[in-house]
């Protein structure tokens, strides 16, 4: 199969990679670039574990072809902390114990960050609707919602 050369900016770093046209962006991130923080839960758009942003748009990377990423700016969970300093959402997830097995966490954090960028002071209901595309089998969501609401308060200061 002919490989395509694509150039994208991932978490601020310019990245060149050869991709097959059948590969999803999720496969490219994990298998070619070894950015394994982005998870696969279903590969059919249902679980949100693979959430990333492309040019600021929140998407499931399992439902994007790698070739489509050419010329775009992508943000993944690996870009969330600055060095050793965690993002307030990451800190609040730990503080509130908003994770158990953790497979949904990178996707939830990316979706929550996107949510707070669009709506810095959401209501509980807005958080629940905003994260409806992210499934979690462990936490029952309550602690996730509390962590996001708490982080929103901290981030507004």
């Amino acid at each position: 199969m002919t490989k395509h050369h694509i150039r994208t900016t991932i978490n601020g770093d310019e990245t060149d990679v050869l991709v097959e046209p059948t590969q999803s962006l999720l496969d490219v991130l994990r298998d070619e670039l070894h950015l394994t923080g982005t998870k696969e839960g279903c590969a059919t758009g249902d679980c949100g574990a693979c959430s990333v942003t492309i040019d600021g748009n929140l998407v499931c990377s399992c439902l994007v072809l790698g070739v489509e990423a050419d010329g775009t700016e992508i943000e993944t969970i690996e870009g969330m902390a600055s060095g050793d300093e965690l993002h307030p959402l990451q800190e609040k997830f730990i503080e509130h114990v908003a994770l158990q097995c953790g497979i949904c966490t990178p996707g939830l954090l990316i979706a929550a960050k996107h949510l707070l960028e669009e709506n810095p002071d959401p209501t509980e209901e807005e958080v629940r609707y905003g994260l409806a595309g992210n499934l979690c089998r462990c936490t029952g969501y309550q602690k996730v919602v509390e962590a996001v609401l708490d982080a929103a308060q901290v981030m507004q200061k």
């Binding site: 002919t2 059919t44 758009g45 949100g48 929140l58 998407v59 439902l63 489509e68």
Partner: protein
Amino acid sequence: MQNLRYEAPETLADATALLSAEDGVARILAGGTDVIVQMHSDLIEPDLIVDVKNIPELTEIAKEGGAYRFGAAVSGKTLMLHEDFNKTWPGIMDGVQLLGSLQVRGRASVGGNLCNASPAADSVPPMIAAGAVASVIGPNGARDIPVEDIVTGPGRTCLEKGEIVVSFLLPERPPRSGDAYLRFTPRTEMDIAVVGAGVNLTLDGGGACTAARVALGAVAPTPLLVAEAADALIGTKVDDAAMEALAAAARAACNPIDDKRGTIEFRTKVAGVLARRAAAIALERAGAN
């Protein structure tokens, strides 16, 4: 799919030429929320993917005179961010807002929702009720097709080889018009409609209905335009008797499947209920503008 080719042409002419020249299986790629799922689950094995998102005509939202035209590949999210469009066509947006999650709507288009040809597609009944017309281009030129005529069966459309839905033209909105779409699902989000109903109507100054269109989803092999249901409203003040006639006409139009998500009897009954409720919301919205 061994030798899948990916192309992202920038003009309609290049896109139709690529699609027409392909002897194997070709698929148009808009948001990919159906196509990529189908590829991953081996339901389709395309030889050629033509990504249409670099073609300006497919990604614009514009006004022509007083009428809206929007590109077939515009994402649900982009439509949701367009304030005036939301105000003008709240019923279409009732359907668009139901397309999966935020992540899915970041990519999913109305053109893809229509051309995937599921009887349960949520943006299609309100588009039919709105009187949307698809502008289609292909190797033999351009044609305009009312949205209700595009889907011919589950997974099948009337589009010929090489044809692309470019955009949708909506009629100019007279004053005192309103539209609405409702669906029944066991869950509030991320579920497939068991029944969907879209109603669009216009009132005169005295509150009588002068024009109406009613469409149903998931109760037949294709989304349906139900003229008899619209006739039940036109000329009335959309009172109780008219509403009951609307519900009866909606029920009579149903030819649903029987499955674990809804029996024939249930779907038929719910179609009448939802048509009524959608008409009540459309009426309220018409009164407000």
